[in-house]
Assembly symmetry: C2
Homo-oligomer: 404 residues x 2
């Protein structure tokens, strides 16, 4: 058995970023940039007013100003502001030549057509200088970042119309087990519905991959080899990786062109994880228990997809992000917990926000067959190997499950 | 001017959940259930073994057992376990009649074909009882919940093949401003690229709505009324809501069949927010500054979409979730902050995880035109109206921007 950290490091080492494709701006949200996107020009392109008011020369002091024109956004004033003159201006309007301050409209009196105000109303800081937001050549969004909605607005502001992104990694999924049938189809005696693949496909899509579910496969080497032949960057098998005579993935793989990297990780749930390569395709053999498999996906599959997407922190193996498969945060325990054994343990828990603290309340039942508990959980409490007993109120690392 | 909380309450009150549609299991991820989904049957449907080993009768104590058959998952043993007998069993295998405990395979010796073990190896708790995960009639996923990948696995395990969900609310977007042009198209003098709509569309999709971007509209009542005639649950306008002579949305709306609910919210950025109804369509008039508009989207548009989706916490106006537009968490300030004025202020900040604490470090520049700062931010620090000065290390409410 190896540690979770070693397993994560070995998996990360096996993946390189996928190839690239160029996508239109409208389709960039959620994609990962393959190269820095730089601003072609300054934003704003020219000094603009941050307020509605009057563009004036500071050197004129409190002299009443004669209004010589106006500068709404998108309609620059063509002349210049001379001594004793002002231009009516609006938010986003280009600062006319000669002007170096704004007086906001709430601070003026119009007397006989002239604009009057106190010297304290002269505000050079209400001028947004050219390039205040970004300058030509600045990196707007860096390579390896997944593009957020806020980045979308920034790219649009930078007049970007397309960008080079990573191709979505293809992940093939095969469910293995004689007891499985598709949801809603007739079950054989002793049978249950295959479930993990549905959760896994949704996770893979959410993490930026392209899932391809091969459904339920017979436990034979030939069938598994077929999946590995699929044009995928990674094959995930579900089930068939334990020690029983009927856990055939290992046997099946033993007869194929399979190179084992590791088998068994010192963790709970999820111990019987297999990682290796079938021909040229990496294969991640996950436990058949749905909870174990989904926890393994969070810990091992997400980093693999991140590495395939060239997400920066995973390419560098950044320890903070991957120490527990994603950036852990701390919470306070709502229960005492006993000492842990030698396996890193992931306890399903509810989070409670109270008194400025986040509290983690472990569910009583932690059986790895209980999807209903995993679905209700807000977080996994991480217990390191041989952790001493923990008391109510102690701080503990948690992995939030928001959105998973 | 009204408070952020009052504005949120008024907006929430204006929306009822959309109609429903039935979707196949494979397309349920991210959708919001319109009715509880209940389990049609127990899971597991029968008692099963949690481990690989031997199914035995406890009353036989340490008597060596004769192996009379096997029960892999999906292949139940057809007979019964009698005195002195055992059935080889595997994880997920149906517990044969007569057996009431499991002995795991690591604890047995095979002597002359018989299975031997100590009494302490008898484990009734390695039997998963029928209905351990869920029972027929249990609610698997409740109405008003957005379906997560974990819920997907749970629904599949429950043999659910379809469910009734809320129709995705249609949100029309119109950008208003003579200075705007589409990214990449030629700019007029004094012009800039329209940007907010791209960020907003991506947010609306992420929040479960269906955005429809009408692009850049001339500042006329007629054009805005056209958008309101679109078959949308909500129209969002960007720009044209300030006090200047050239901010025409108000004027335009004034001439149409517009009923104002409120105008101006005591907040920064985002003060000149308008909410009302044009004919039968609710209309949210957002500021032209992209940062102001995107902050307003997080605070006001997301709750509106949640209400349209019938997400439980918003239907009940749940105060915790919506106090600041989403559930705030606390962080410690990395800087001193001055006293706040009468407007609720949302300060763009970076988050730093250090020493088990989350620290919020406000960016130096907070100008509402700076998309580059908003794109880099991890959170908004919330400063309530008239908040006293805050010191470095003080706890403060933040709104995390993860995924926005």
């Amino acid at each position: 058995m190896i540690s979770v950290e070693e397993a994560q490091a070995r998996i990360l080492a096996a993946f390189k970023p996928t190839g690239t494709e160029v996508m239109d701006l409208a389709h960039l949200a959620g994609r990962v940039l393959a190269a820095d996107v730089k601003a072609p020009s300054d934003q704003p392109p020219f000094p603009v007013s941050a307020m509605d008011g009057y563009a004036v020369r500071r050197s004129d002091g409190e002299t009443p100003r004669k209004v010589i024109g106006s500068a709404p956004a998108g309609h620059p004033f063509k002349g210049a502001v001379g001594p004793g003159e002002t231009v009516r201006i609006f938010t986003g309007g280009v600062i006319p030549k000669g002007a170096d301050a704004i007086v906001i409209q709430e601070e003026v009196d119009i007397v006989g057509g002239d604009v009057q105000f106190n010297a304290s109303a002269l505000r050079p800081d209400f001028i947004r200088t050219a390039g205040l937001d970004f300058k030509a050549g600045d990196v707007l969004v860096p390579a390896g970042k997944r593009i957020t909605p806020r980045d979308m607005a920034l790219l649009a502001a930078g007049d970007i119309t397309e960008a080079k992104v990573r191709r979505q990694p293809r992940v093939a999924i095969a469910s293995i087990g004689d007891e499985l049938s598709a949801p809603g189809s007739p079950r054989q005696p002793g049978g249950i519905a295959a479930s993990t693949g549905y959760g896994l496909s949704a996770m893979i899509s959410m993490w930026g991959g392209a899932p391809c579910d091969f459904g339920i496969l017979p436990d034979t080497a030939q069938e598994i080899a077929t999946v590995a032949d699929a044009d995928a960057e990674l094959v995930v098998t579900l089930g068939g990786v334990s020690v029983g005579d009927h856990d055939l993935v290992q046997k099946a793989l033993g007869t194929a062109d399979f190179e084992l990297d590791f088998w068994k990780v010192a963790m709970r749930p999820g111990k019987p994880l297999i990682f290796g390569r079938l021909g040229t395709t990496p294969i991640l053999g996950m436990p058949g228990n749905p909870v174990s498999a989904l926890v393994c996906a969070i810990l091992f599959l997400r980093p693999a997809i991140d590495a395939l997407l060239g997400i920066e922190s995973s390419a560098s193996g950044a320890p903070q992000r991957f120490q527990y498969g994603c950036r852990p945060i701390t919470a306070r325990l709502r229960h005492d917990l006993p000492a842990n054994d030698g396996r890193q343990t992931y306890i399903r828990a509810r989070l409670i926000h109270e008194g400025g603290d986040v509290w983690a309340e472990p569910f009583e039942l932690q059986d790895s067959s209980m999807l209903s508990v995993l679905a209700k959980a807000d977080a996994l409490v991480v217990r390191v190997p041989n952790a001493p007993p923990a008391d109510t109120g102690d701080r503990t690392d948690i992995i939030p499950l928001d959105g998973y």
